[in-house]
Structures are given as C-alpha cells and as structure tokens.
C-alpha cells in the first residue's frame, strides 16, 4: 500500500490536509502580506524624510493615504504577519513532529482555518478598493473617528453604503482572521493534549510547544471582549447604534478598554512562540540544557496572567480614573520580574556553553538582546504613568513597541526559519547569505529605531503626515536628519530582505542536502527524515527523556535525542 505517493502542485498547495503543507501555505501567505506591510512602511517613511512628492514606486502621497498606510501597515504586521508566522506556521509545522505524531487532531478544521485566513487577507486588501478608501483611523480603531462619517452621523448613508467602506472591511477582515486563529488554536491545544507520543509527558515537552499553547490559550482568554466590542463597533458603523457615541448614551472609552484588554495580551501572544523558539535554539547551540526549564514555564504563565490586567497602561491619559492608573502602573512595572526570570534563565543556558555561531543562533541572540535591552527596558519608562504622560503617542512609544515586535516577529521568526528550514525542505540554507542577511537586518533595524527614540523625547507625536506646522519644535536640521537616517536605514533593511528571498528560493531547490539532524539537536523532529514523510514517523518514537540532555555526563556524545534510552 503506497500512502506516500507524490502529490501535484495543486494538491499540495490547495487541498492537502497535511499539517506541514498547511504550515507552508501559511508561511507563503504571510510573506505575501509582509511585502504589503513592508511596502507601506517604505512609502510613508519616505514621505516623512523626503516629502510626499514623487515617491519612487508610488508617486505622490496625500494625508489621507498616509493615515491609511500607517493603519494598514500596523494591522498587517500584527494580524497578517506576526500571528500567522508565530502561531500558525510554528504551531502547524512543529507541534505534530515535536510531540511525535502524524498530524493535527482535526486536519480538516486546520485546512478550513487556512482558507478563512486567506479570505481575511483578501477582505483586508479589498478595503483599498472601497469608494471611501481603506480604513485610516489607526489600527486601534478608536471611535468616534472610526464611525464618524457613517450611520447616524451621516444621514446620506444607507446600510449598504456603510457596508462598502474601508472601515467595515477592516473590521470584517480582523474578525475573519480571529476566527481562523481560533480554529487553529483549538487544534494546537487539543493536539498537544491528546496526541503526544508514548512517554512524552507534559514536563518533557519542548519549550516552544509549551509556549505556542500558552500563547493560544492567552489569545482565547483575551479575545472575547474585543469580539463583543467589534460587534458593537460594526453596528455603530452599519446601522448607527451609538454604543460608542457619547451624545447618545455611549462611551468612546469603553472601546478602548475592550480593545486593550485584548491588545496588550496580543503582544504576548506574539512574543511567547518566538521566545520559545529562541529558547530551543539557544539550548541547542550552547550545547547545554535549557536552564530552569520548569521555572521558565512558570514565569511565562505568570506573565501571561499578569498581561490580562495591565491593559490600561495604554490609557493613562485617556481620561480614566487617575487613581486606577496607579494600579496599572504598578502591575505593568511588576511584569518585568517574571520576564527577568525568563531572560536570566536563557543567559544561564549560555553560561559556560560551547556556543556555536550558526545562523539561527545569531538571530536568536540578536532577538534576545534587542528585545531585552531596548524593548523590555524602555517598557519600564512607559510603565511609569508619570513619564507616559509625556511619552504617550510619541515616537518614543513607536520605537519601544517596534523594539518588542520586530525582534519578536522578524528576528525570532528568522531564527526559527533558519533553524527548521533543513527539516521542512530537506536542504540547508546558504550560511554566508544567512550571515549577510542577519547583519544587514540587525544593524539597520537598530539604526531605524534609535533615532526614533530620540525624536519621541523631542516631542514628535505619532501618526503625523508632516511636521511643517511644528517649525521650532520638530523641524530643526537635527530632526530632519534623524528622520532621514531612519528612512534610509529602512530602505537598506528592506533591500537586505532580498538576500533572504534569494537564499530561500535558491536553497529550497538547490541547497546542500540536509541530514536528519544537522544541528545535532535532541527534539523528536530531528529523529525523522528531512523533510518528514507524510505521517512524519516510521516507526513512531517512544520518548525516554526530556529534550535538553546536552552534554549529559553519562553520555558519550554531547547530545542525546529524546527517543534514546
């Protein structure tokens, strides 16, 4: 009986139920969306540095389009690049092979989740073709701005004219994306709980599997209020219900609470899978056990729970009760402690290691360093409600959250990509190109955002098309230069991504053949062929030990696969 027969292109990319194929589809789709997110940021950053006219590859940029591009850049990078890569690609590709099983618990649901995701991409992009243009009120969608031209506020509109607007499509796209991620998430959790190989107890699970699951649960816990809010917002737009209209008994701040109750945990949803992958990589390339494995899991659970009660740090000056703001400030600053435990555990893993500087390791260390030193530590500045009075909605915030998100999504994402590429393609990436890609990305990422910290401290506020009205405050030669440094760096950063694209498509076809276990790692995926056959294992592994027995004193080699007695 031949269950392993080769399937054609159509089958593989459109109908396959295999978790690895679905993971690959998510990856390609996310890369496609990242091209939009990256192009948008190029256009609006070019405008900030060199003016709105004759932007190469674009043309002239008007204020309204500026807002649309900023809004969609943010939303795309978070919902259509970060979430699919870190939850769906990592979850799909890794969970079954890391826990030693053939596929997801619900393969069909998995397929549907991908199709819904693809649909959400088209709905979002279709927003640009609406008569009103794409939505441009900020990815946070604060009402009344996000409803002000519609419904009750504009008697000339009908349900259908309100429907065919960028605002409605933006909301629907986000809703579809959530449905997709929820279907995926349920699948990951059930698969992890029910389909583990013999001997794979929870305390033998690789860290990244823990992290993807915690991230999915956190997403499920936090998303409910936003869905309720999004429904109210949709009704405000379509039929003018006025849930967020202060003049008709509604309250604009209510939206902000519902949004950020989800929005803050959301950044941890992105962070956890990424930091999980980074943990695997650091342990493998330090040739040492992950230090304090159980404590890391505990710390992450504590941080995840705390992340549900810090949301109002986005609203210190939005008109909430100033007394309550103190509690949110306290909780936000306290959240640094479990993260410190986690980062120190990773550094404990490095300590005395025989560190191997393979490409994935560089990305992982780059991720950990930038996330900690710039992302995490400036979080303390912003967690202070006093300093946030000044910094809120300035480029200091922009630089801070990009120093958390960019390392999470791209540095951590690329670390994972370079690490598991041999497994999913059966070939090695070119190392020299990988190093060029890393240093180009790492250096220019920093030189984009360090100037933006400074501009924020100078009082440069965000979502501004041009600063010509602030001649004394923000248009001095040093400000103009800082903006130009950031923009030129961004252009270089984008150019270096072509090195990656070339390496990707070249290596997938022509790269050196990869062995089963090129990195000499312990987890189960490295015990099967590269790429794994349909069904993943033959025979199915029996797990004997935890995943981090590197340099075990009783073993000859410096590693010991989980399935080895």
């Amino acid at each position: 009986m031949d269950t392993h027969k080769k399937h054609g292109f159509w089958h593989r990319y459109f109908f396959s139920l295999d978790h690895k194929d679905i993971g690959f589809q998510y990856l390609l789709t996310a890369m496609f969306m990242a091209a939009f997110g990256g192009f948008f940021v190029y256009v609006f950053r070019y405008n900030l540095a060199f003016g709105p006219n004759d932007i190469p590859l674009y043309g002239d940029l008007a204020a309204k389009q500026y807002n649309q591009l900023v809004t969609n850049h943010g939303a795309i990078m978070i919902f259509w690049v970060g979430m699919p890569i870190l939850l769906a690609v990592i979850g799909n590709f890794l969970i079954p092979i890391m826990i030693g099983t053939d596929d997801m618990a619900f393969p069909t649901l998995n397929k549907i989740s991908y199709w819904v995701f693809l649909l959400s991409c088209f709905v979002l992009l279709a927003g640009f073709m609406m008569p009103t243009g794409a939505f441009g009120g900020g990815w946070t969608m604060y009402p009344p701005l996000s409803v002000s031209d519609f419904g009750y506020n504009n008697p000339n509109t009908t349900f259908w004219t309100n429907f065919f607007t960028g605002n409605t499509f933006f909301l629907l796209a986000v809703a579809l994306e959530f449905i997709s991620m929820l279907m995926g998430g349920i699948n990951f959790v059930v698969t992890t709980l029910n389909k583990r190989a013999k001997g794979m107890s929870l305390m033998r699970l690789p860290l990244v599997v823990w992290m993807v699951n915690i991230a999915n649960l956190l997403f499920m816990f936090s998303v409910g209020p936003l869905i309720a809010g999004a429904f109210m917002l949709l009704m405000d737009i379509l039929v003018g219900t006025g849930f967020f209209d202060a003049y008709r008994g509604g309250d604009p701040i209510l939206w902000q609470h519902l949004f950020w109750f989800f929005g803050h945990p959301e950044v941890y949803v992105l962070l956890l899978p990424s930091i999980g992958a980074v943990g695997e990589i650091i342990s493998t390339f330090s040739r040492k056990p992950l230090f304090g494995y159980k404590m890391v899991i505990l710390m992450v659970i504590i941080a995840a729970i705390l992340s549900l009660v810090v949301w109002a740090h986005h609203q210190f000056v939005s008109g909430i009760d100033p007394g309550a703001a103190n509690i949110f400030s306290l909780l936000t600053i306290i959240i640094s402690i479990p993260f410190a435990g986690m980062v120190l555990s990773y550094l404990g893993t490095l300590w005395k290691g025989n560190i191997r500087f393979e490409t994935p390791m560089l990305w992982a260390l780059g991720m950990l360093a930038t996330f900690t030193f710039f992302g995490g530590f400036t979080g303390l500045h912003l967690g202070s409600n006093v300093f946030d009075i000044y910094a809120h909605d300035t480029y200091f915030v922009i630089a801070h959250f990009h120093y958390t998100l960019f390392p999470t999504v791209f540095l951590g994402g690329f670390a994972a990509f370079y690490y598991w590429f041999p497994k999913f393609s059966g070939r090695m990436m070119n190392k020299t190109l990988g190093l060029i890609h890393f240093w180009g990305t790492f250096i220019f990422f920093n030189s984009i955002f360090i100037p933006l910290f400074w501009l924020g401290l100078q009082g440069q506020h965000r979502r501004i098309y041009n600063y010509s009205a602030w001649n004394d405050l923000l248009m001095q030669p040093e400000h103009i230069m800082a903006r130009q440094i950031a923009t030129v760096s961004l252009i270089f950063l984008l150019l270096f991504q072509f090195v990656f694209l070339f390496n990707f498509f070249y290596s997938i076809k022509k790269g050196k053949k990869a062995s089963k276990n090129p990195w000499e790692a312990n987890t189960l995926e490295w015990q099967t062929d590269s790429p794994p056959p349909h069904g993943n294992f033959d025979p199915y592994p029996v797990v004997q030990r935890w995943p981090y027995d590197y340099n075990h004193p009783e073993k000859e080699l410096d590693y010991c696969p989980q399935s080895e007695i």
Binding site: L145, L330, I337, L380, S384, I389, Q458
Partner: protein, 221 residues
C-alpha cells in the same frame, strides 16, 4: 544635542528627572545583563567538563542567581514607583485652586479656546472664544477644562510635559503652572482624521501685566 525640548514647568522638570532615574535603574540592569551575555560568548572556546556544563537548574539553590537578579530588579521597580508616585499625585490627583480658568475644546481640526469674559467667570454669556491661540499668565495656576466636539483629540503641550485626551461628551479638568514666558506648541496627540497633522495651536505664556493687556485686547474685539 539635547534630549528633551526645554521645560517650562516645575512638574515637567521633575518628570525629566524621573526619566533619568528610570534610565539609571535600567542602565545598571543593562550593564549586568550585558556582562552575562558577553562573557559566555567570549569564553566559549574554553575547555569545560560535562559535569560543569550539564546545568539543569532544577532546584531553588541552583537557581539562586536568577532569584537574586529578580530581587534586584524588584528593588529597582519599587524605587521607580516610589519616585514617580508623588509626581503623579500632584499632576493628576490634586487640583490646586485656580488663578485663572479656561476651556480648551478640540474639534476637527483646530483648538477652540474659551476665555472667561470680563466677569472673570467661565461658562457665562460674556465668554470669549479664540482659535488655536492660548494666552496664559506665567507662574499662575491655570485650570483647563478639556473636551472635544466630534472625535477624540489629545491636548499635548510638549514643553510643559502635559498631555490629556479630549473626549466628546465629557469635561476633564487639569491644571498647569508654567514658569517661563514665550511661545510654545499645542499639538494634538490622538489621531483625529485627515487633518490631524495640521492641528497645531500656539500657547503664549506671558508675564502677568502683558497677559492682562492681551486679555483686555481680546475683550475689546
């Protein structure tokens, strides 16, 4: 190269100082963490035995350095909170008696400023409205009633280190006391539509006599 624009209020200067306090705490943490990063990288080629390298960290004793690090950070956190809280209380949770009151109302895309008329009282018939021009006396406590007509805006006075969202349907009263005369910016810090980036006003901080003359001129008009 300066880090902040000039500060024109006592509170603002304290906030700048807080920034440096937090930066110092973070700086110490950075130095320690950076060492933990770099040392193992530099010494990666040294010979180590398997016993040395097989560090699992599976008991509290073996994790003591991690706990010490967390406790140190906790102390740093507490220090930050201790330093910031009094400032927050005086900015946001107390309202000293006003010497002068105005209302500032955001709408797409300008700031309406309402001054009390000759009777000195706000919200009476003789109130006077101006656009994008805020005149305040130096060294006096000024109350601002902040609101918005259409969408959310945010009153941002960068040099005064002041920010407060302006909400439709709600009035939020905050105070400022400025100690330098001059012309300063009023920015809108919350996206409010296409004209968000032209929504700028000017704040004139004037000594008391000049300010009185300005007000008299405004009344005449």
């Amino acid at each position: 190269m300066n880090i902040f624009p000039e500060s024109i209020s006592q509170i603002g200067s304290e906030m700048d100082k807080l920034f440096w306090i937090i930066t110092a705490v973070v700086g110490i943490a950075t130095v320690i963490t950076l060492f933990l990063f770099i040392y193992p990288i530099v010494t990666r080629k040294r010979n180590k035995t398997k016993e040395e390298m097989y560090m699992v960290g599976n008991s509290h004793g073996k994790r003591k350095w991690i706990y010490i690090g967390m406790i140190l950070l906790f102390l740093g956190d507490m220090y930050i909170l201790l330093k910031e809280h009094p400032i927050w209380e005086s900015v946001e949770q107390t309202l000293p008696d006003p010497d002068f009151k105005i209302a500032i109302i955001g709408k797409q895309w300008m700031w309406n400023i309402i001054y009390p008329g000759p009777d000195g009282k706000l919200y009476t018939d003789d109130d006077i409205m101006a656009y994008n021009e805020l005149h305040v006396p130096v060294n006096k406590v000024v109350h601002m009633d902040i609101k918005a007509l259409d969408v959310v805006h945010s009153v941002f006075l960068p040099q005064a280190r002041f920010k407060q969202d302006a909400l439709p349907g709600r009035t939020i009263t905050r105070w400022i006391k400025l100690n330098k005369t001059g012309e300063y910016d009023i920015s809108c810090a919350e996206i409010c539509g296409t004209g968000h980036s032209i929504m700028r006003g000017t704040m004139y901080v004037e000594d008391f006599n000049t300010w009185k003359k300005t007000m008299a001129n405004i009344y005449k008009k």
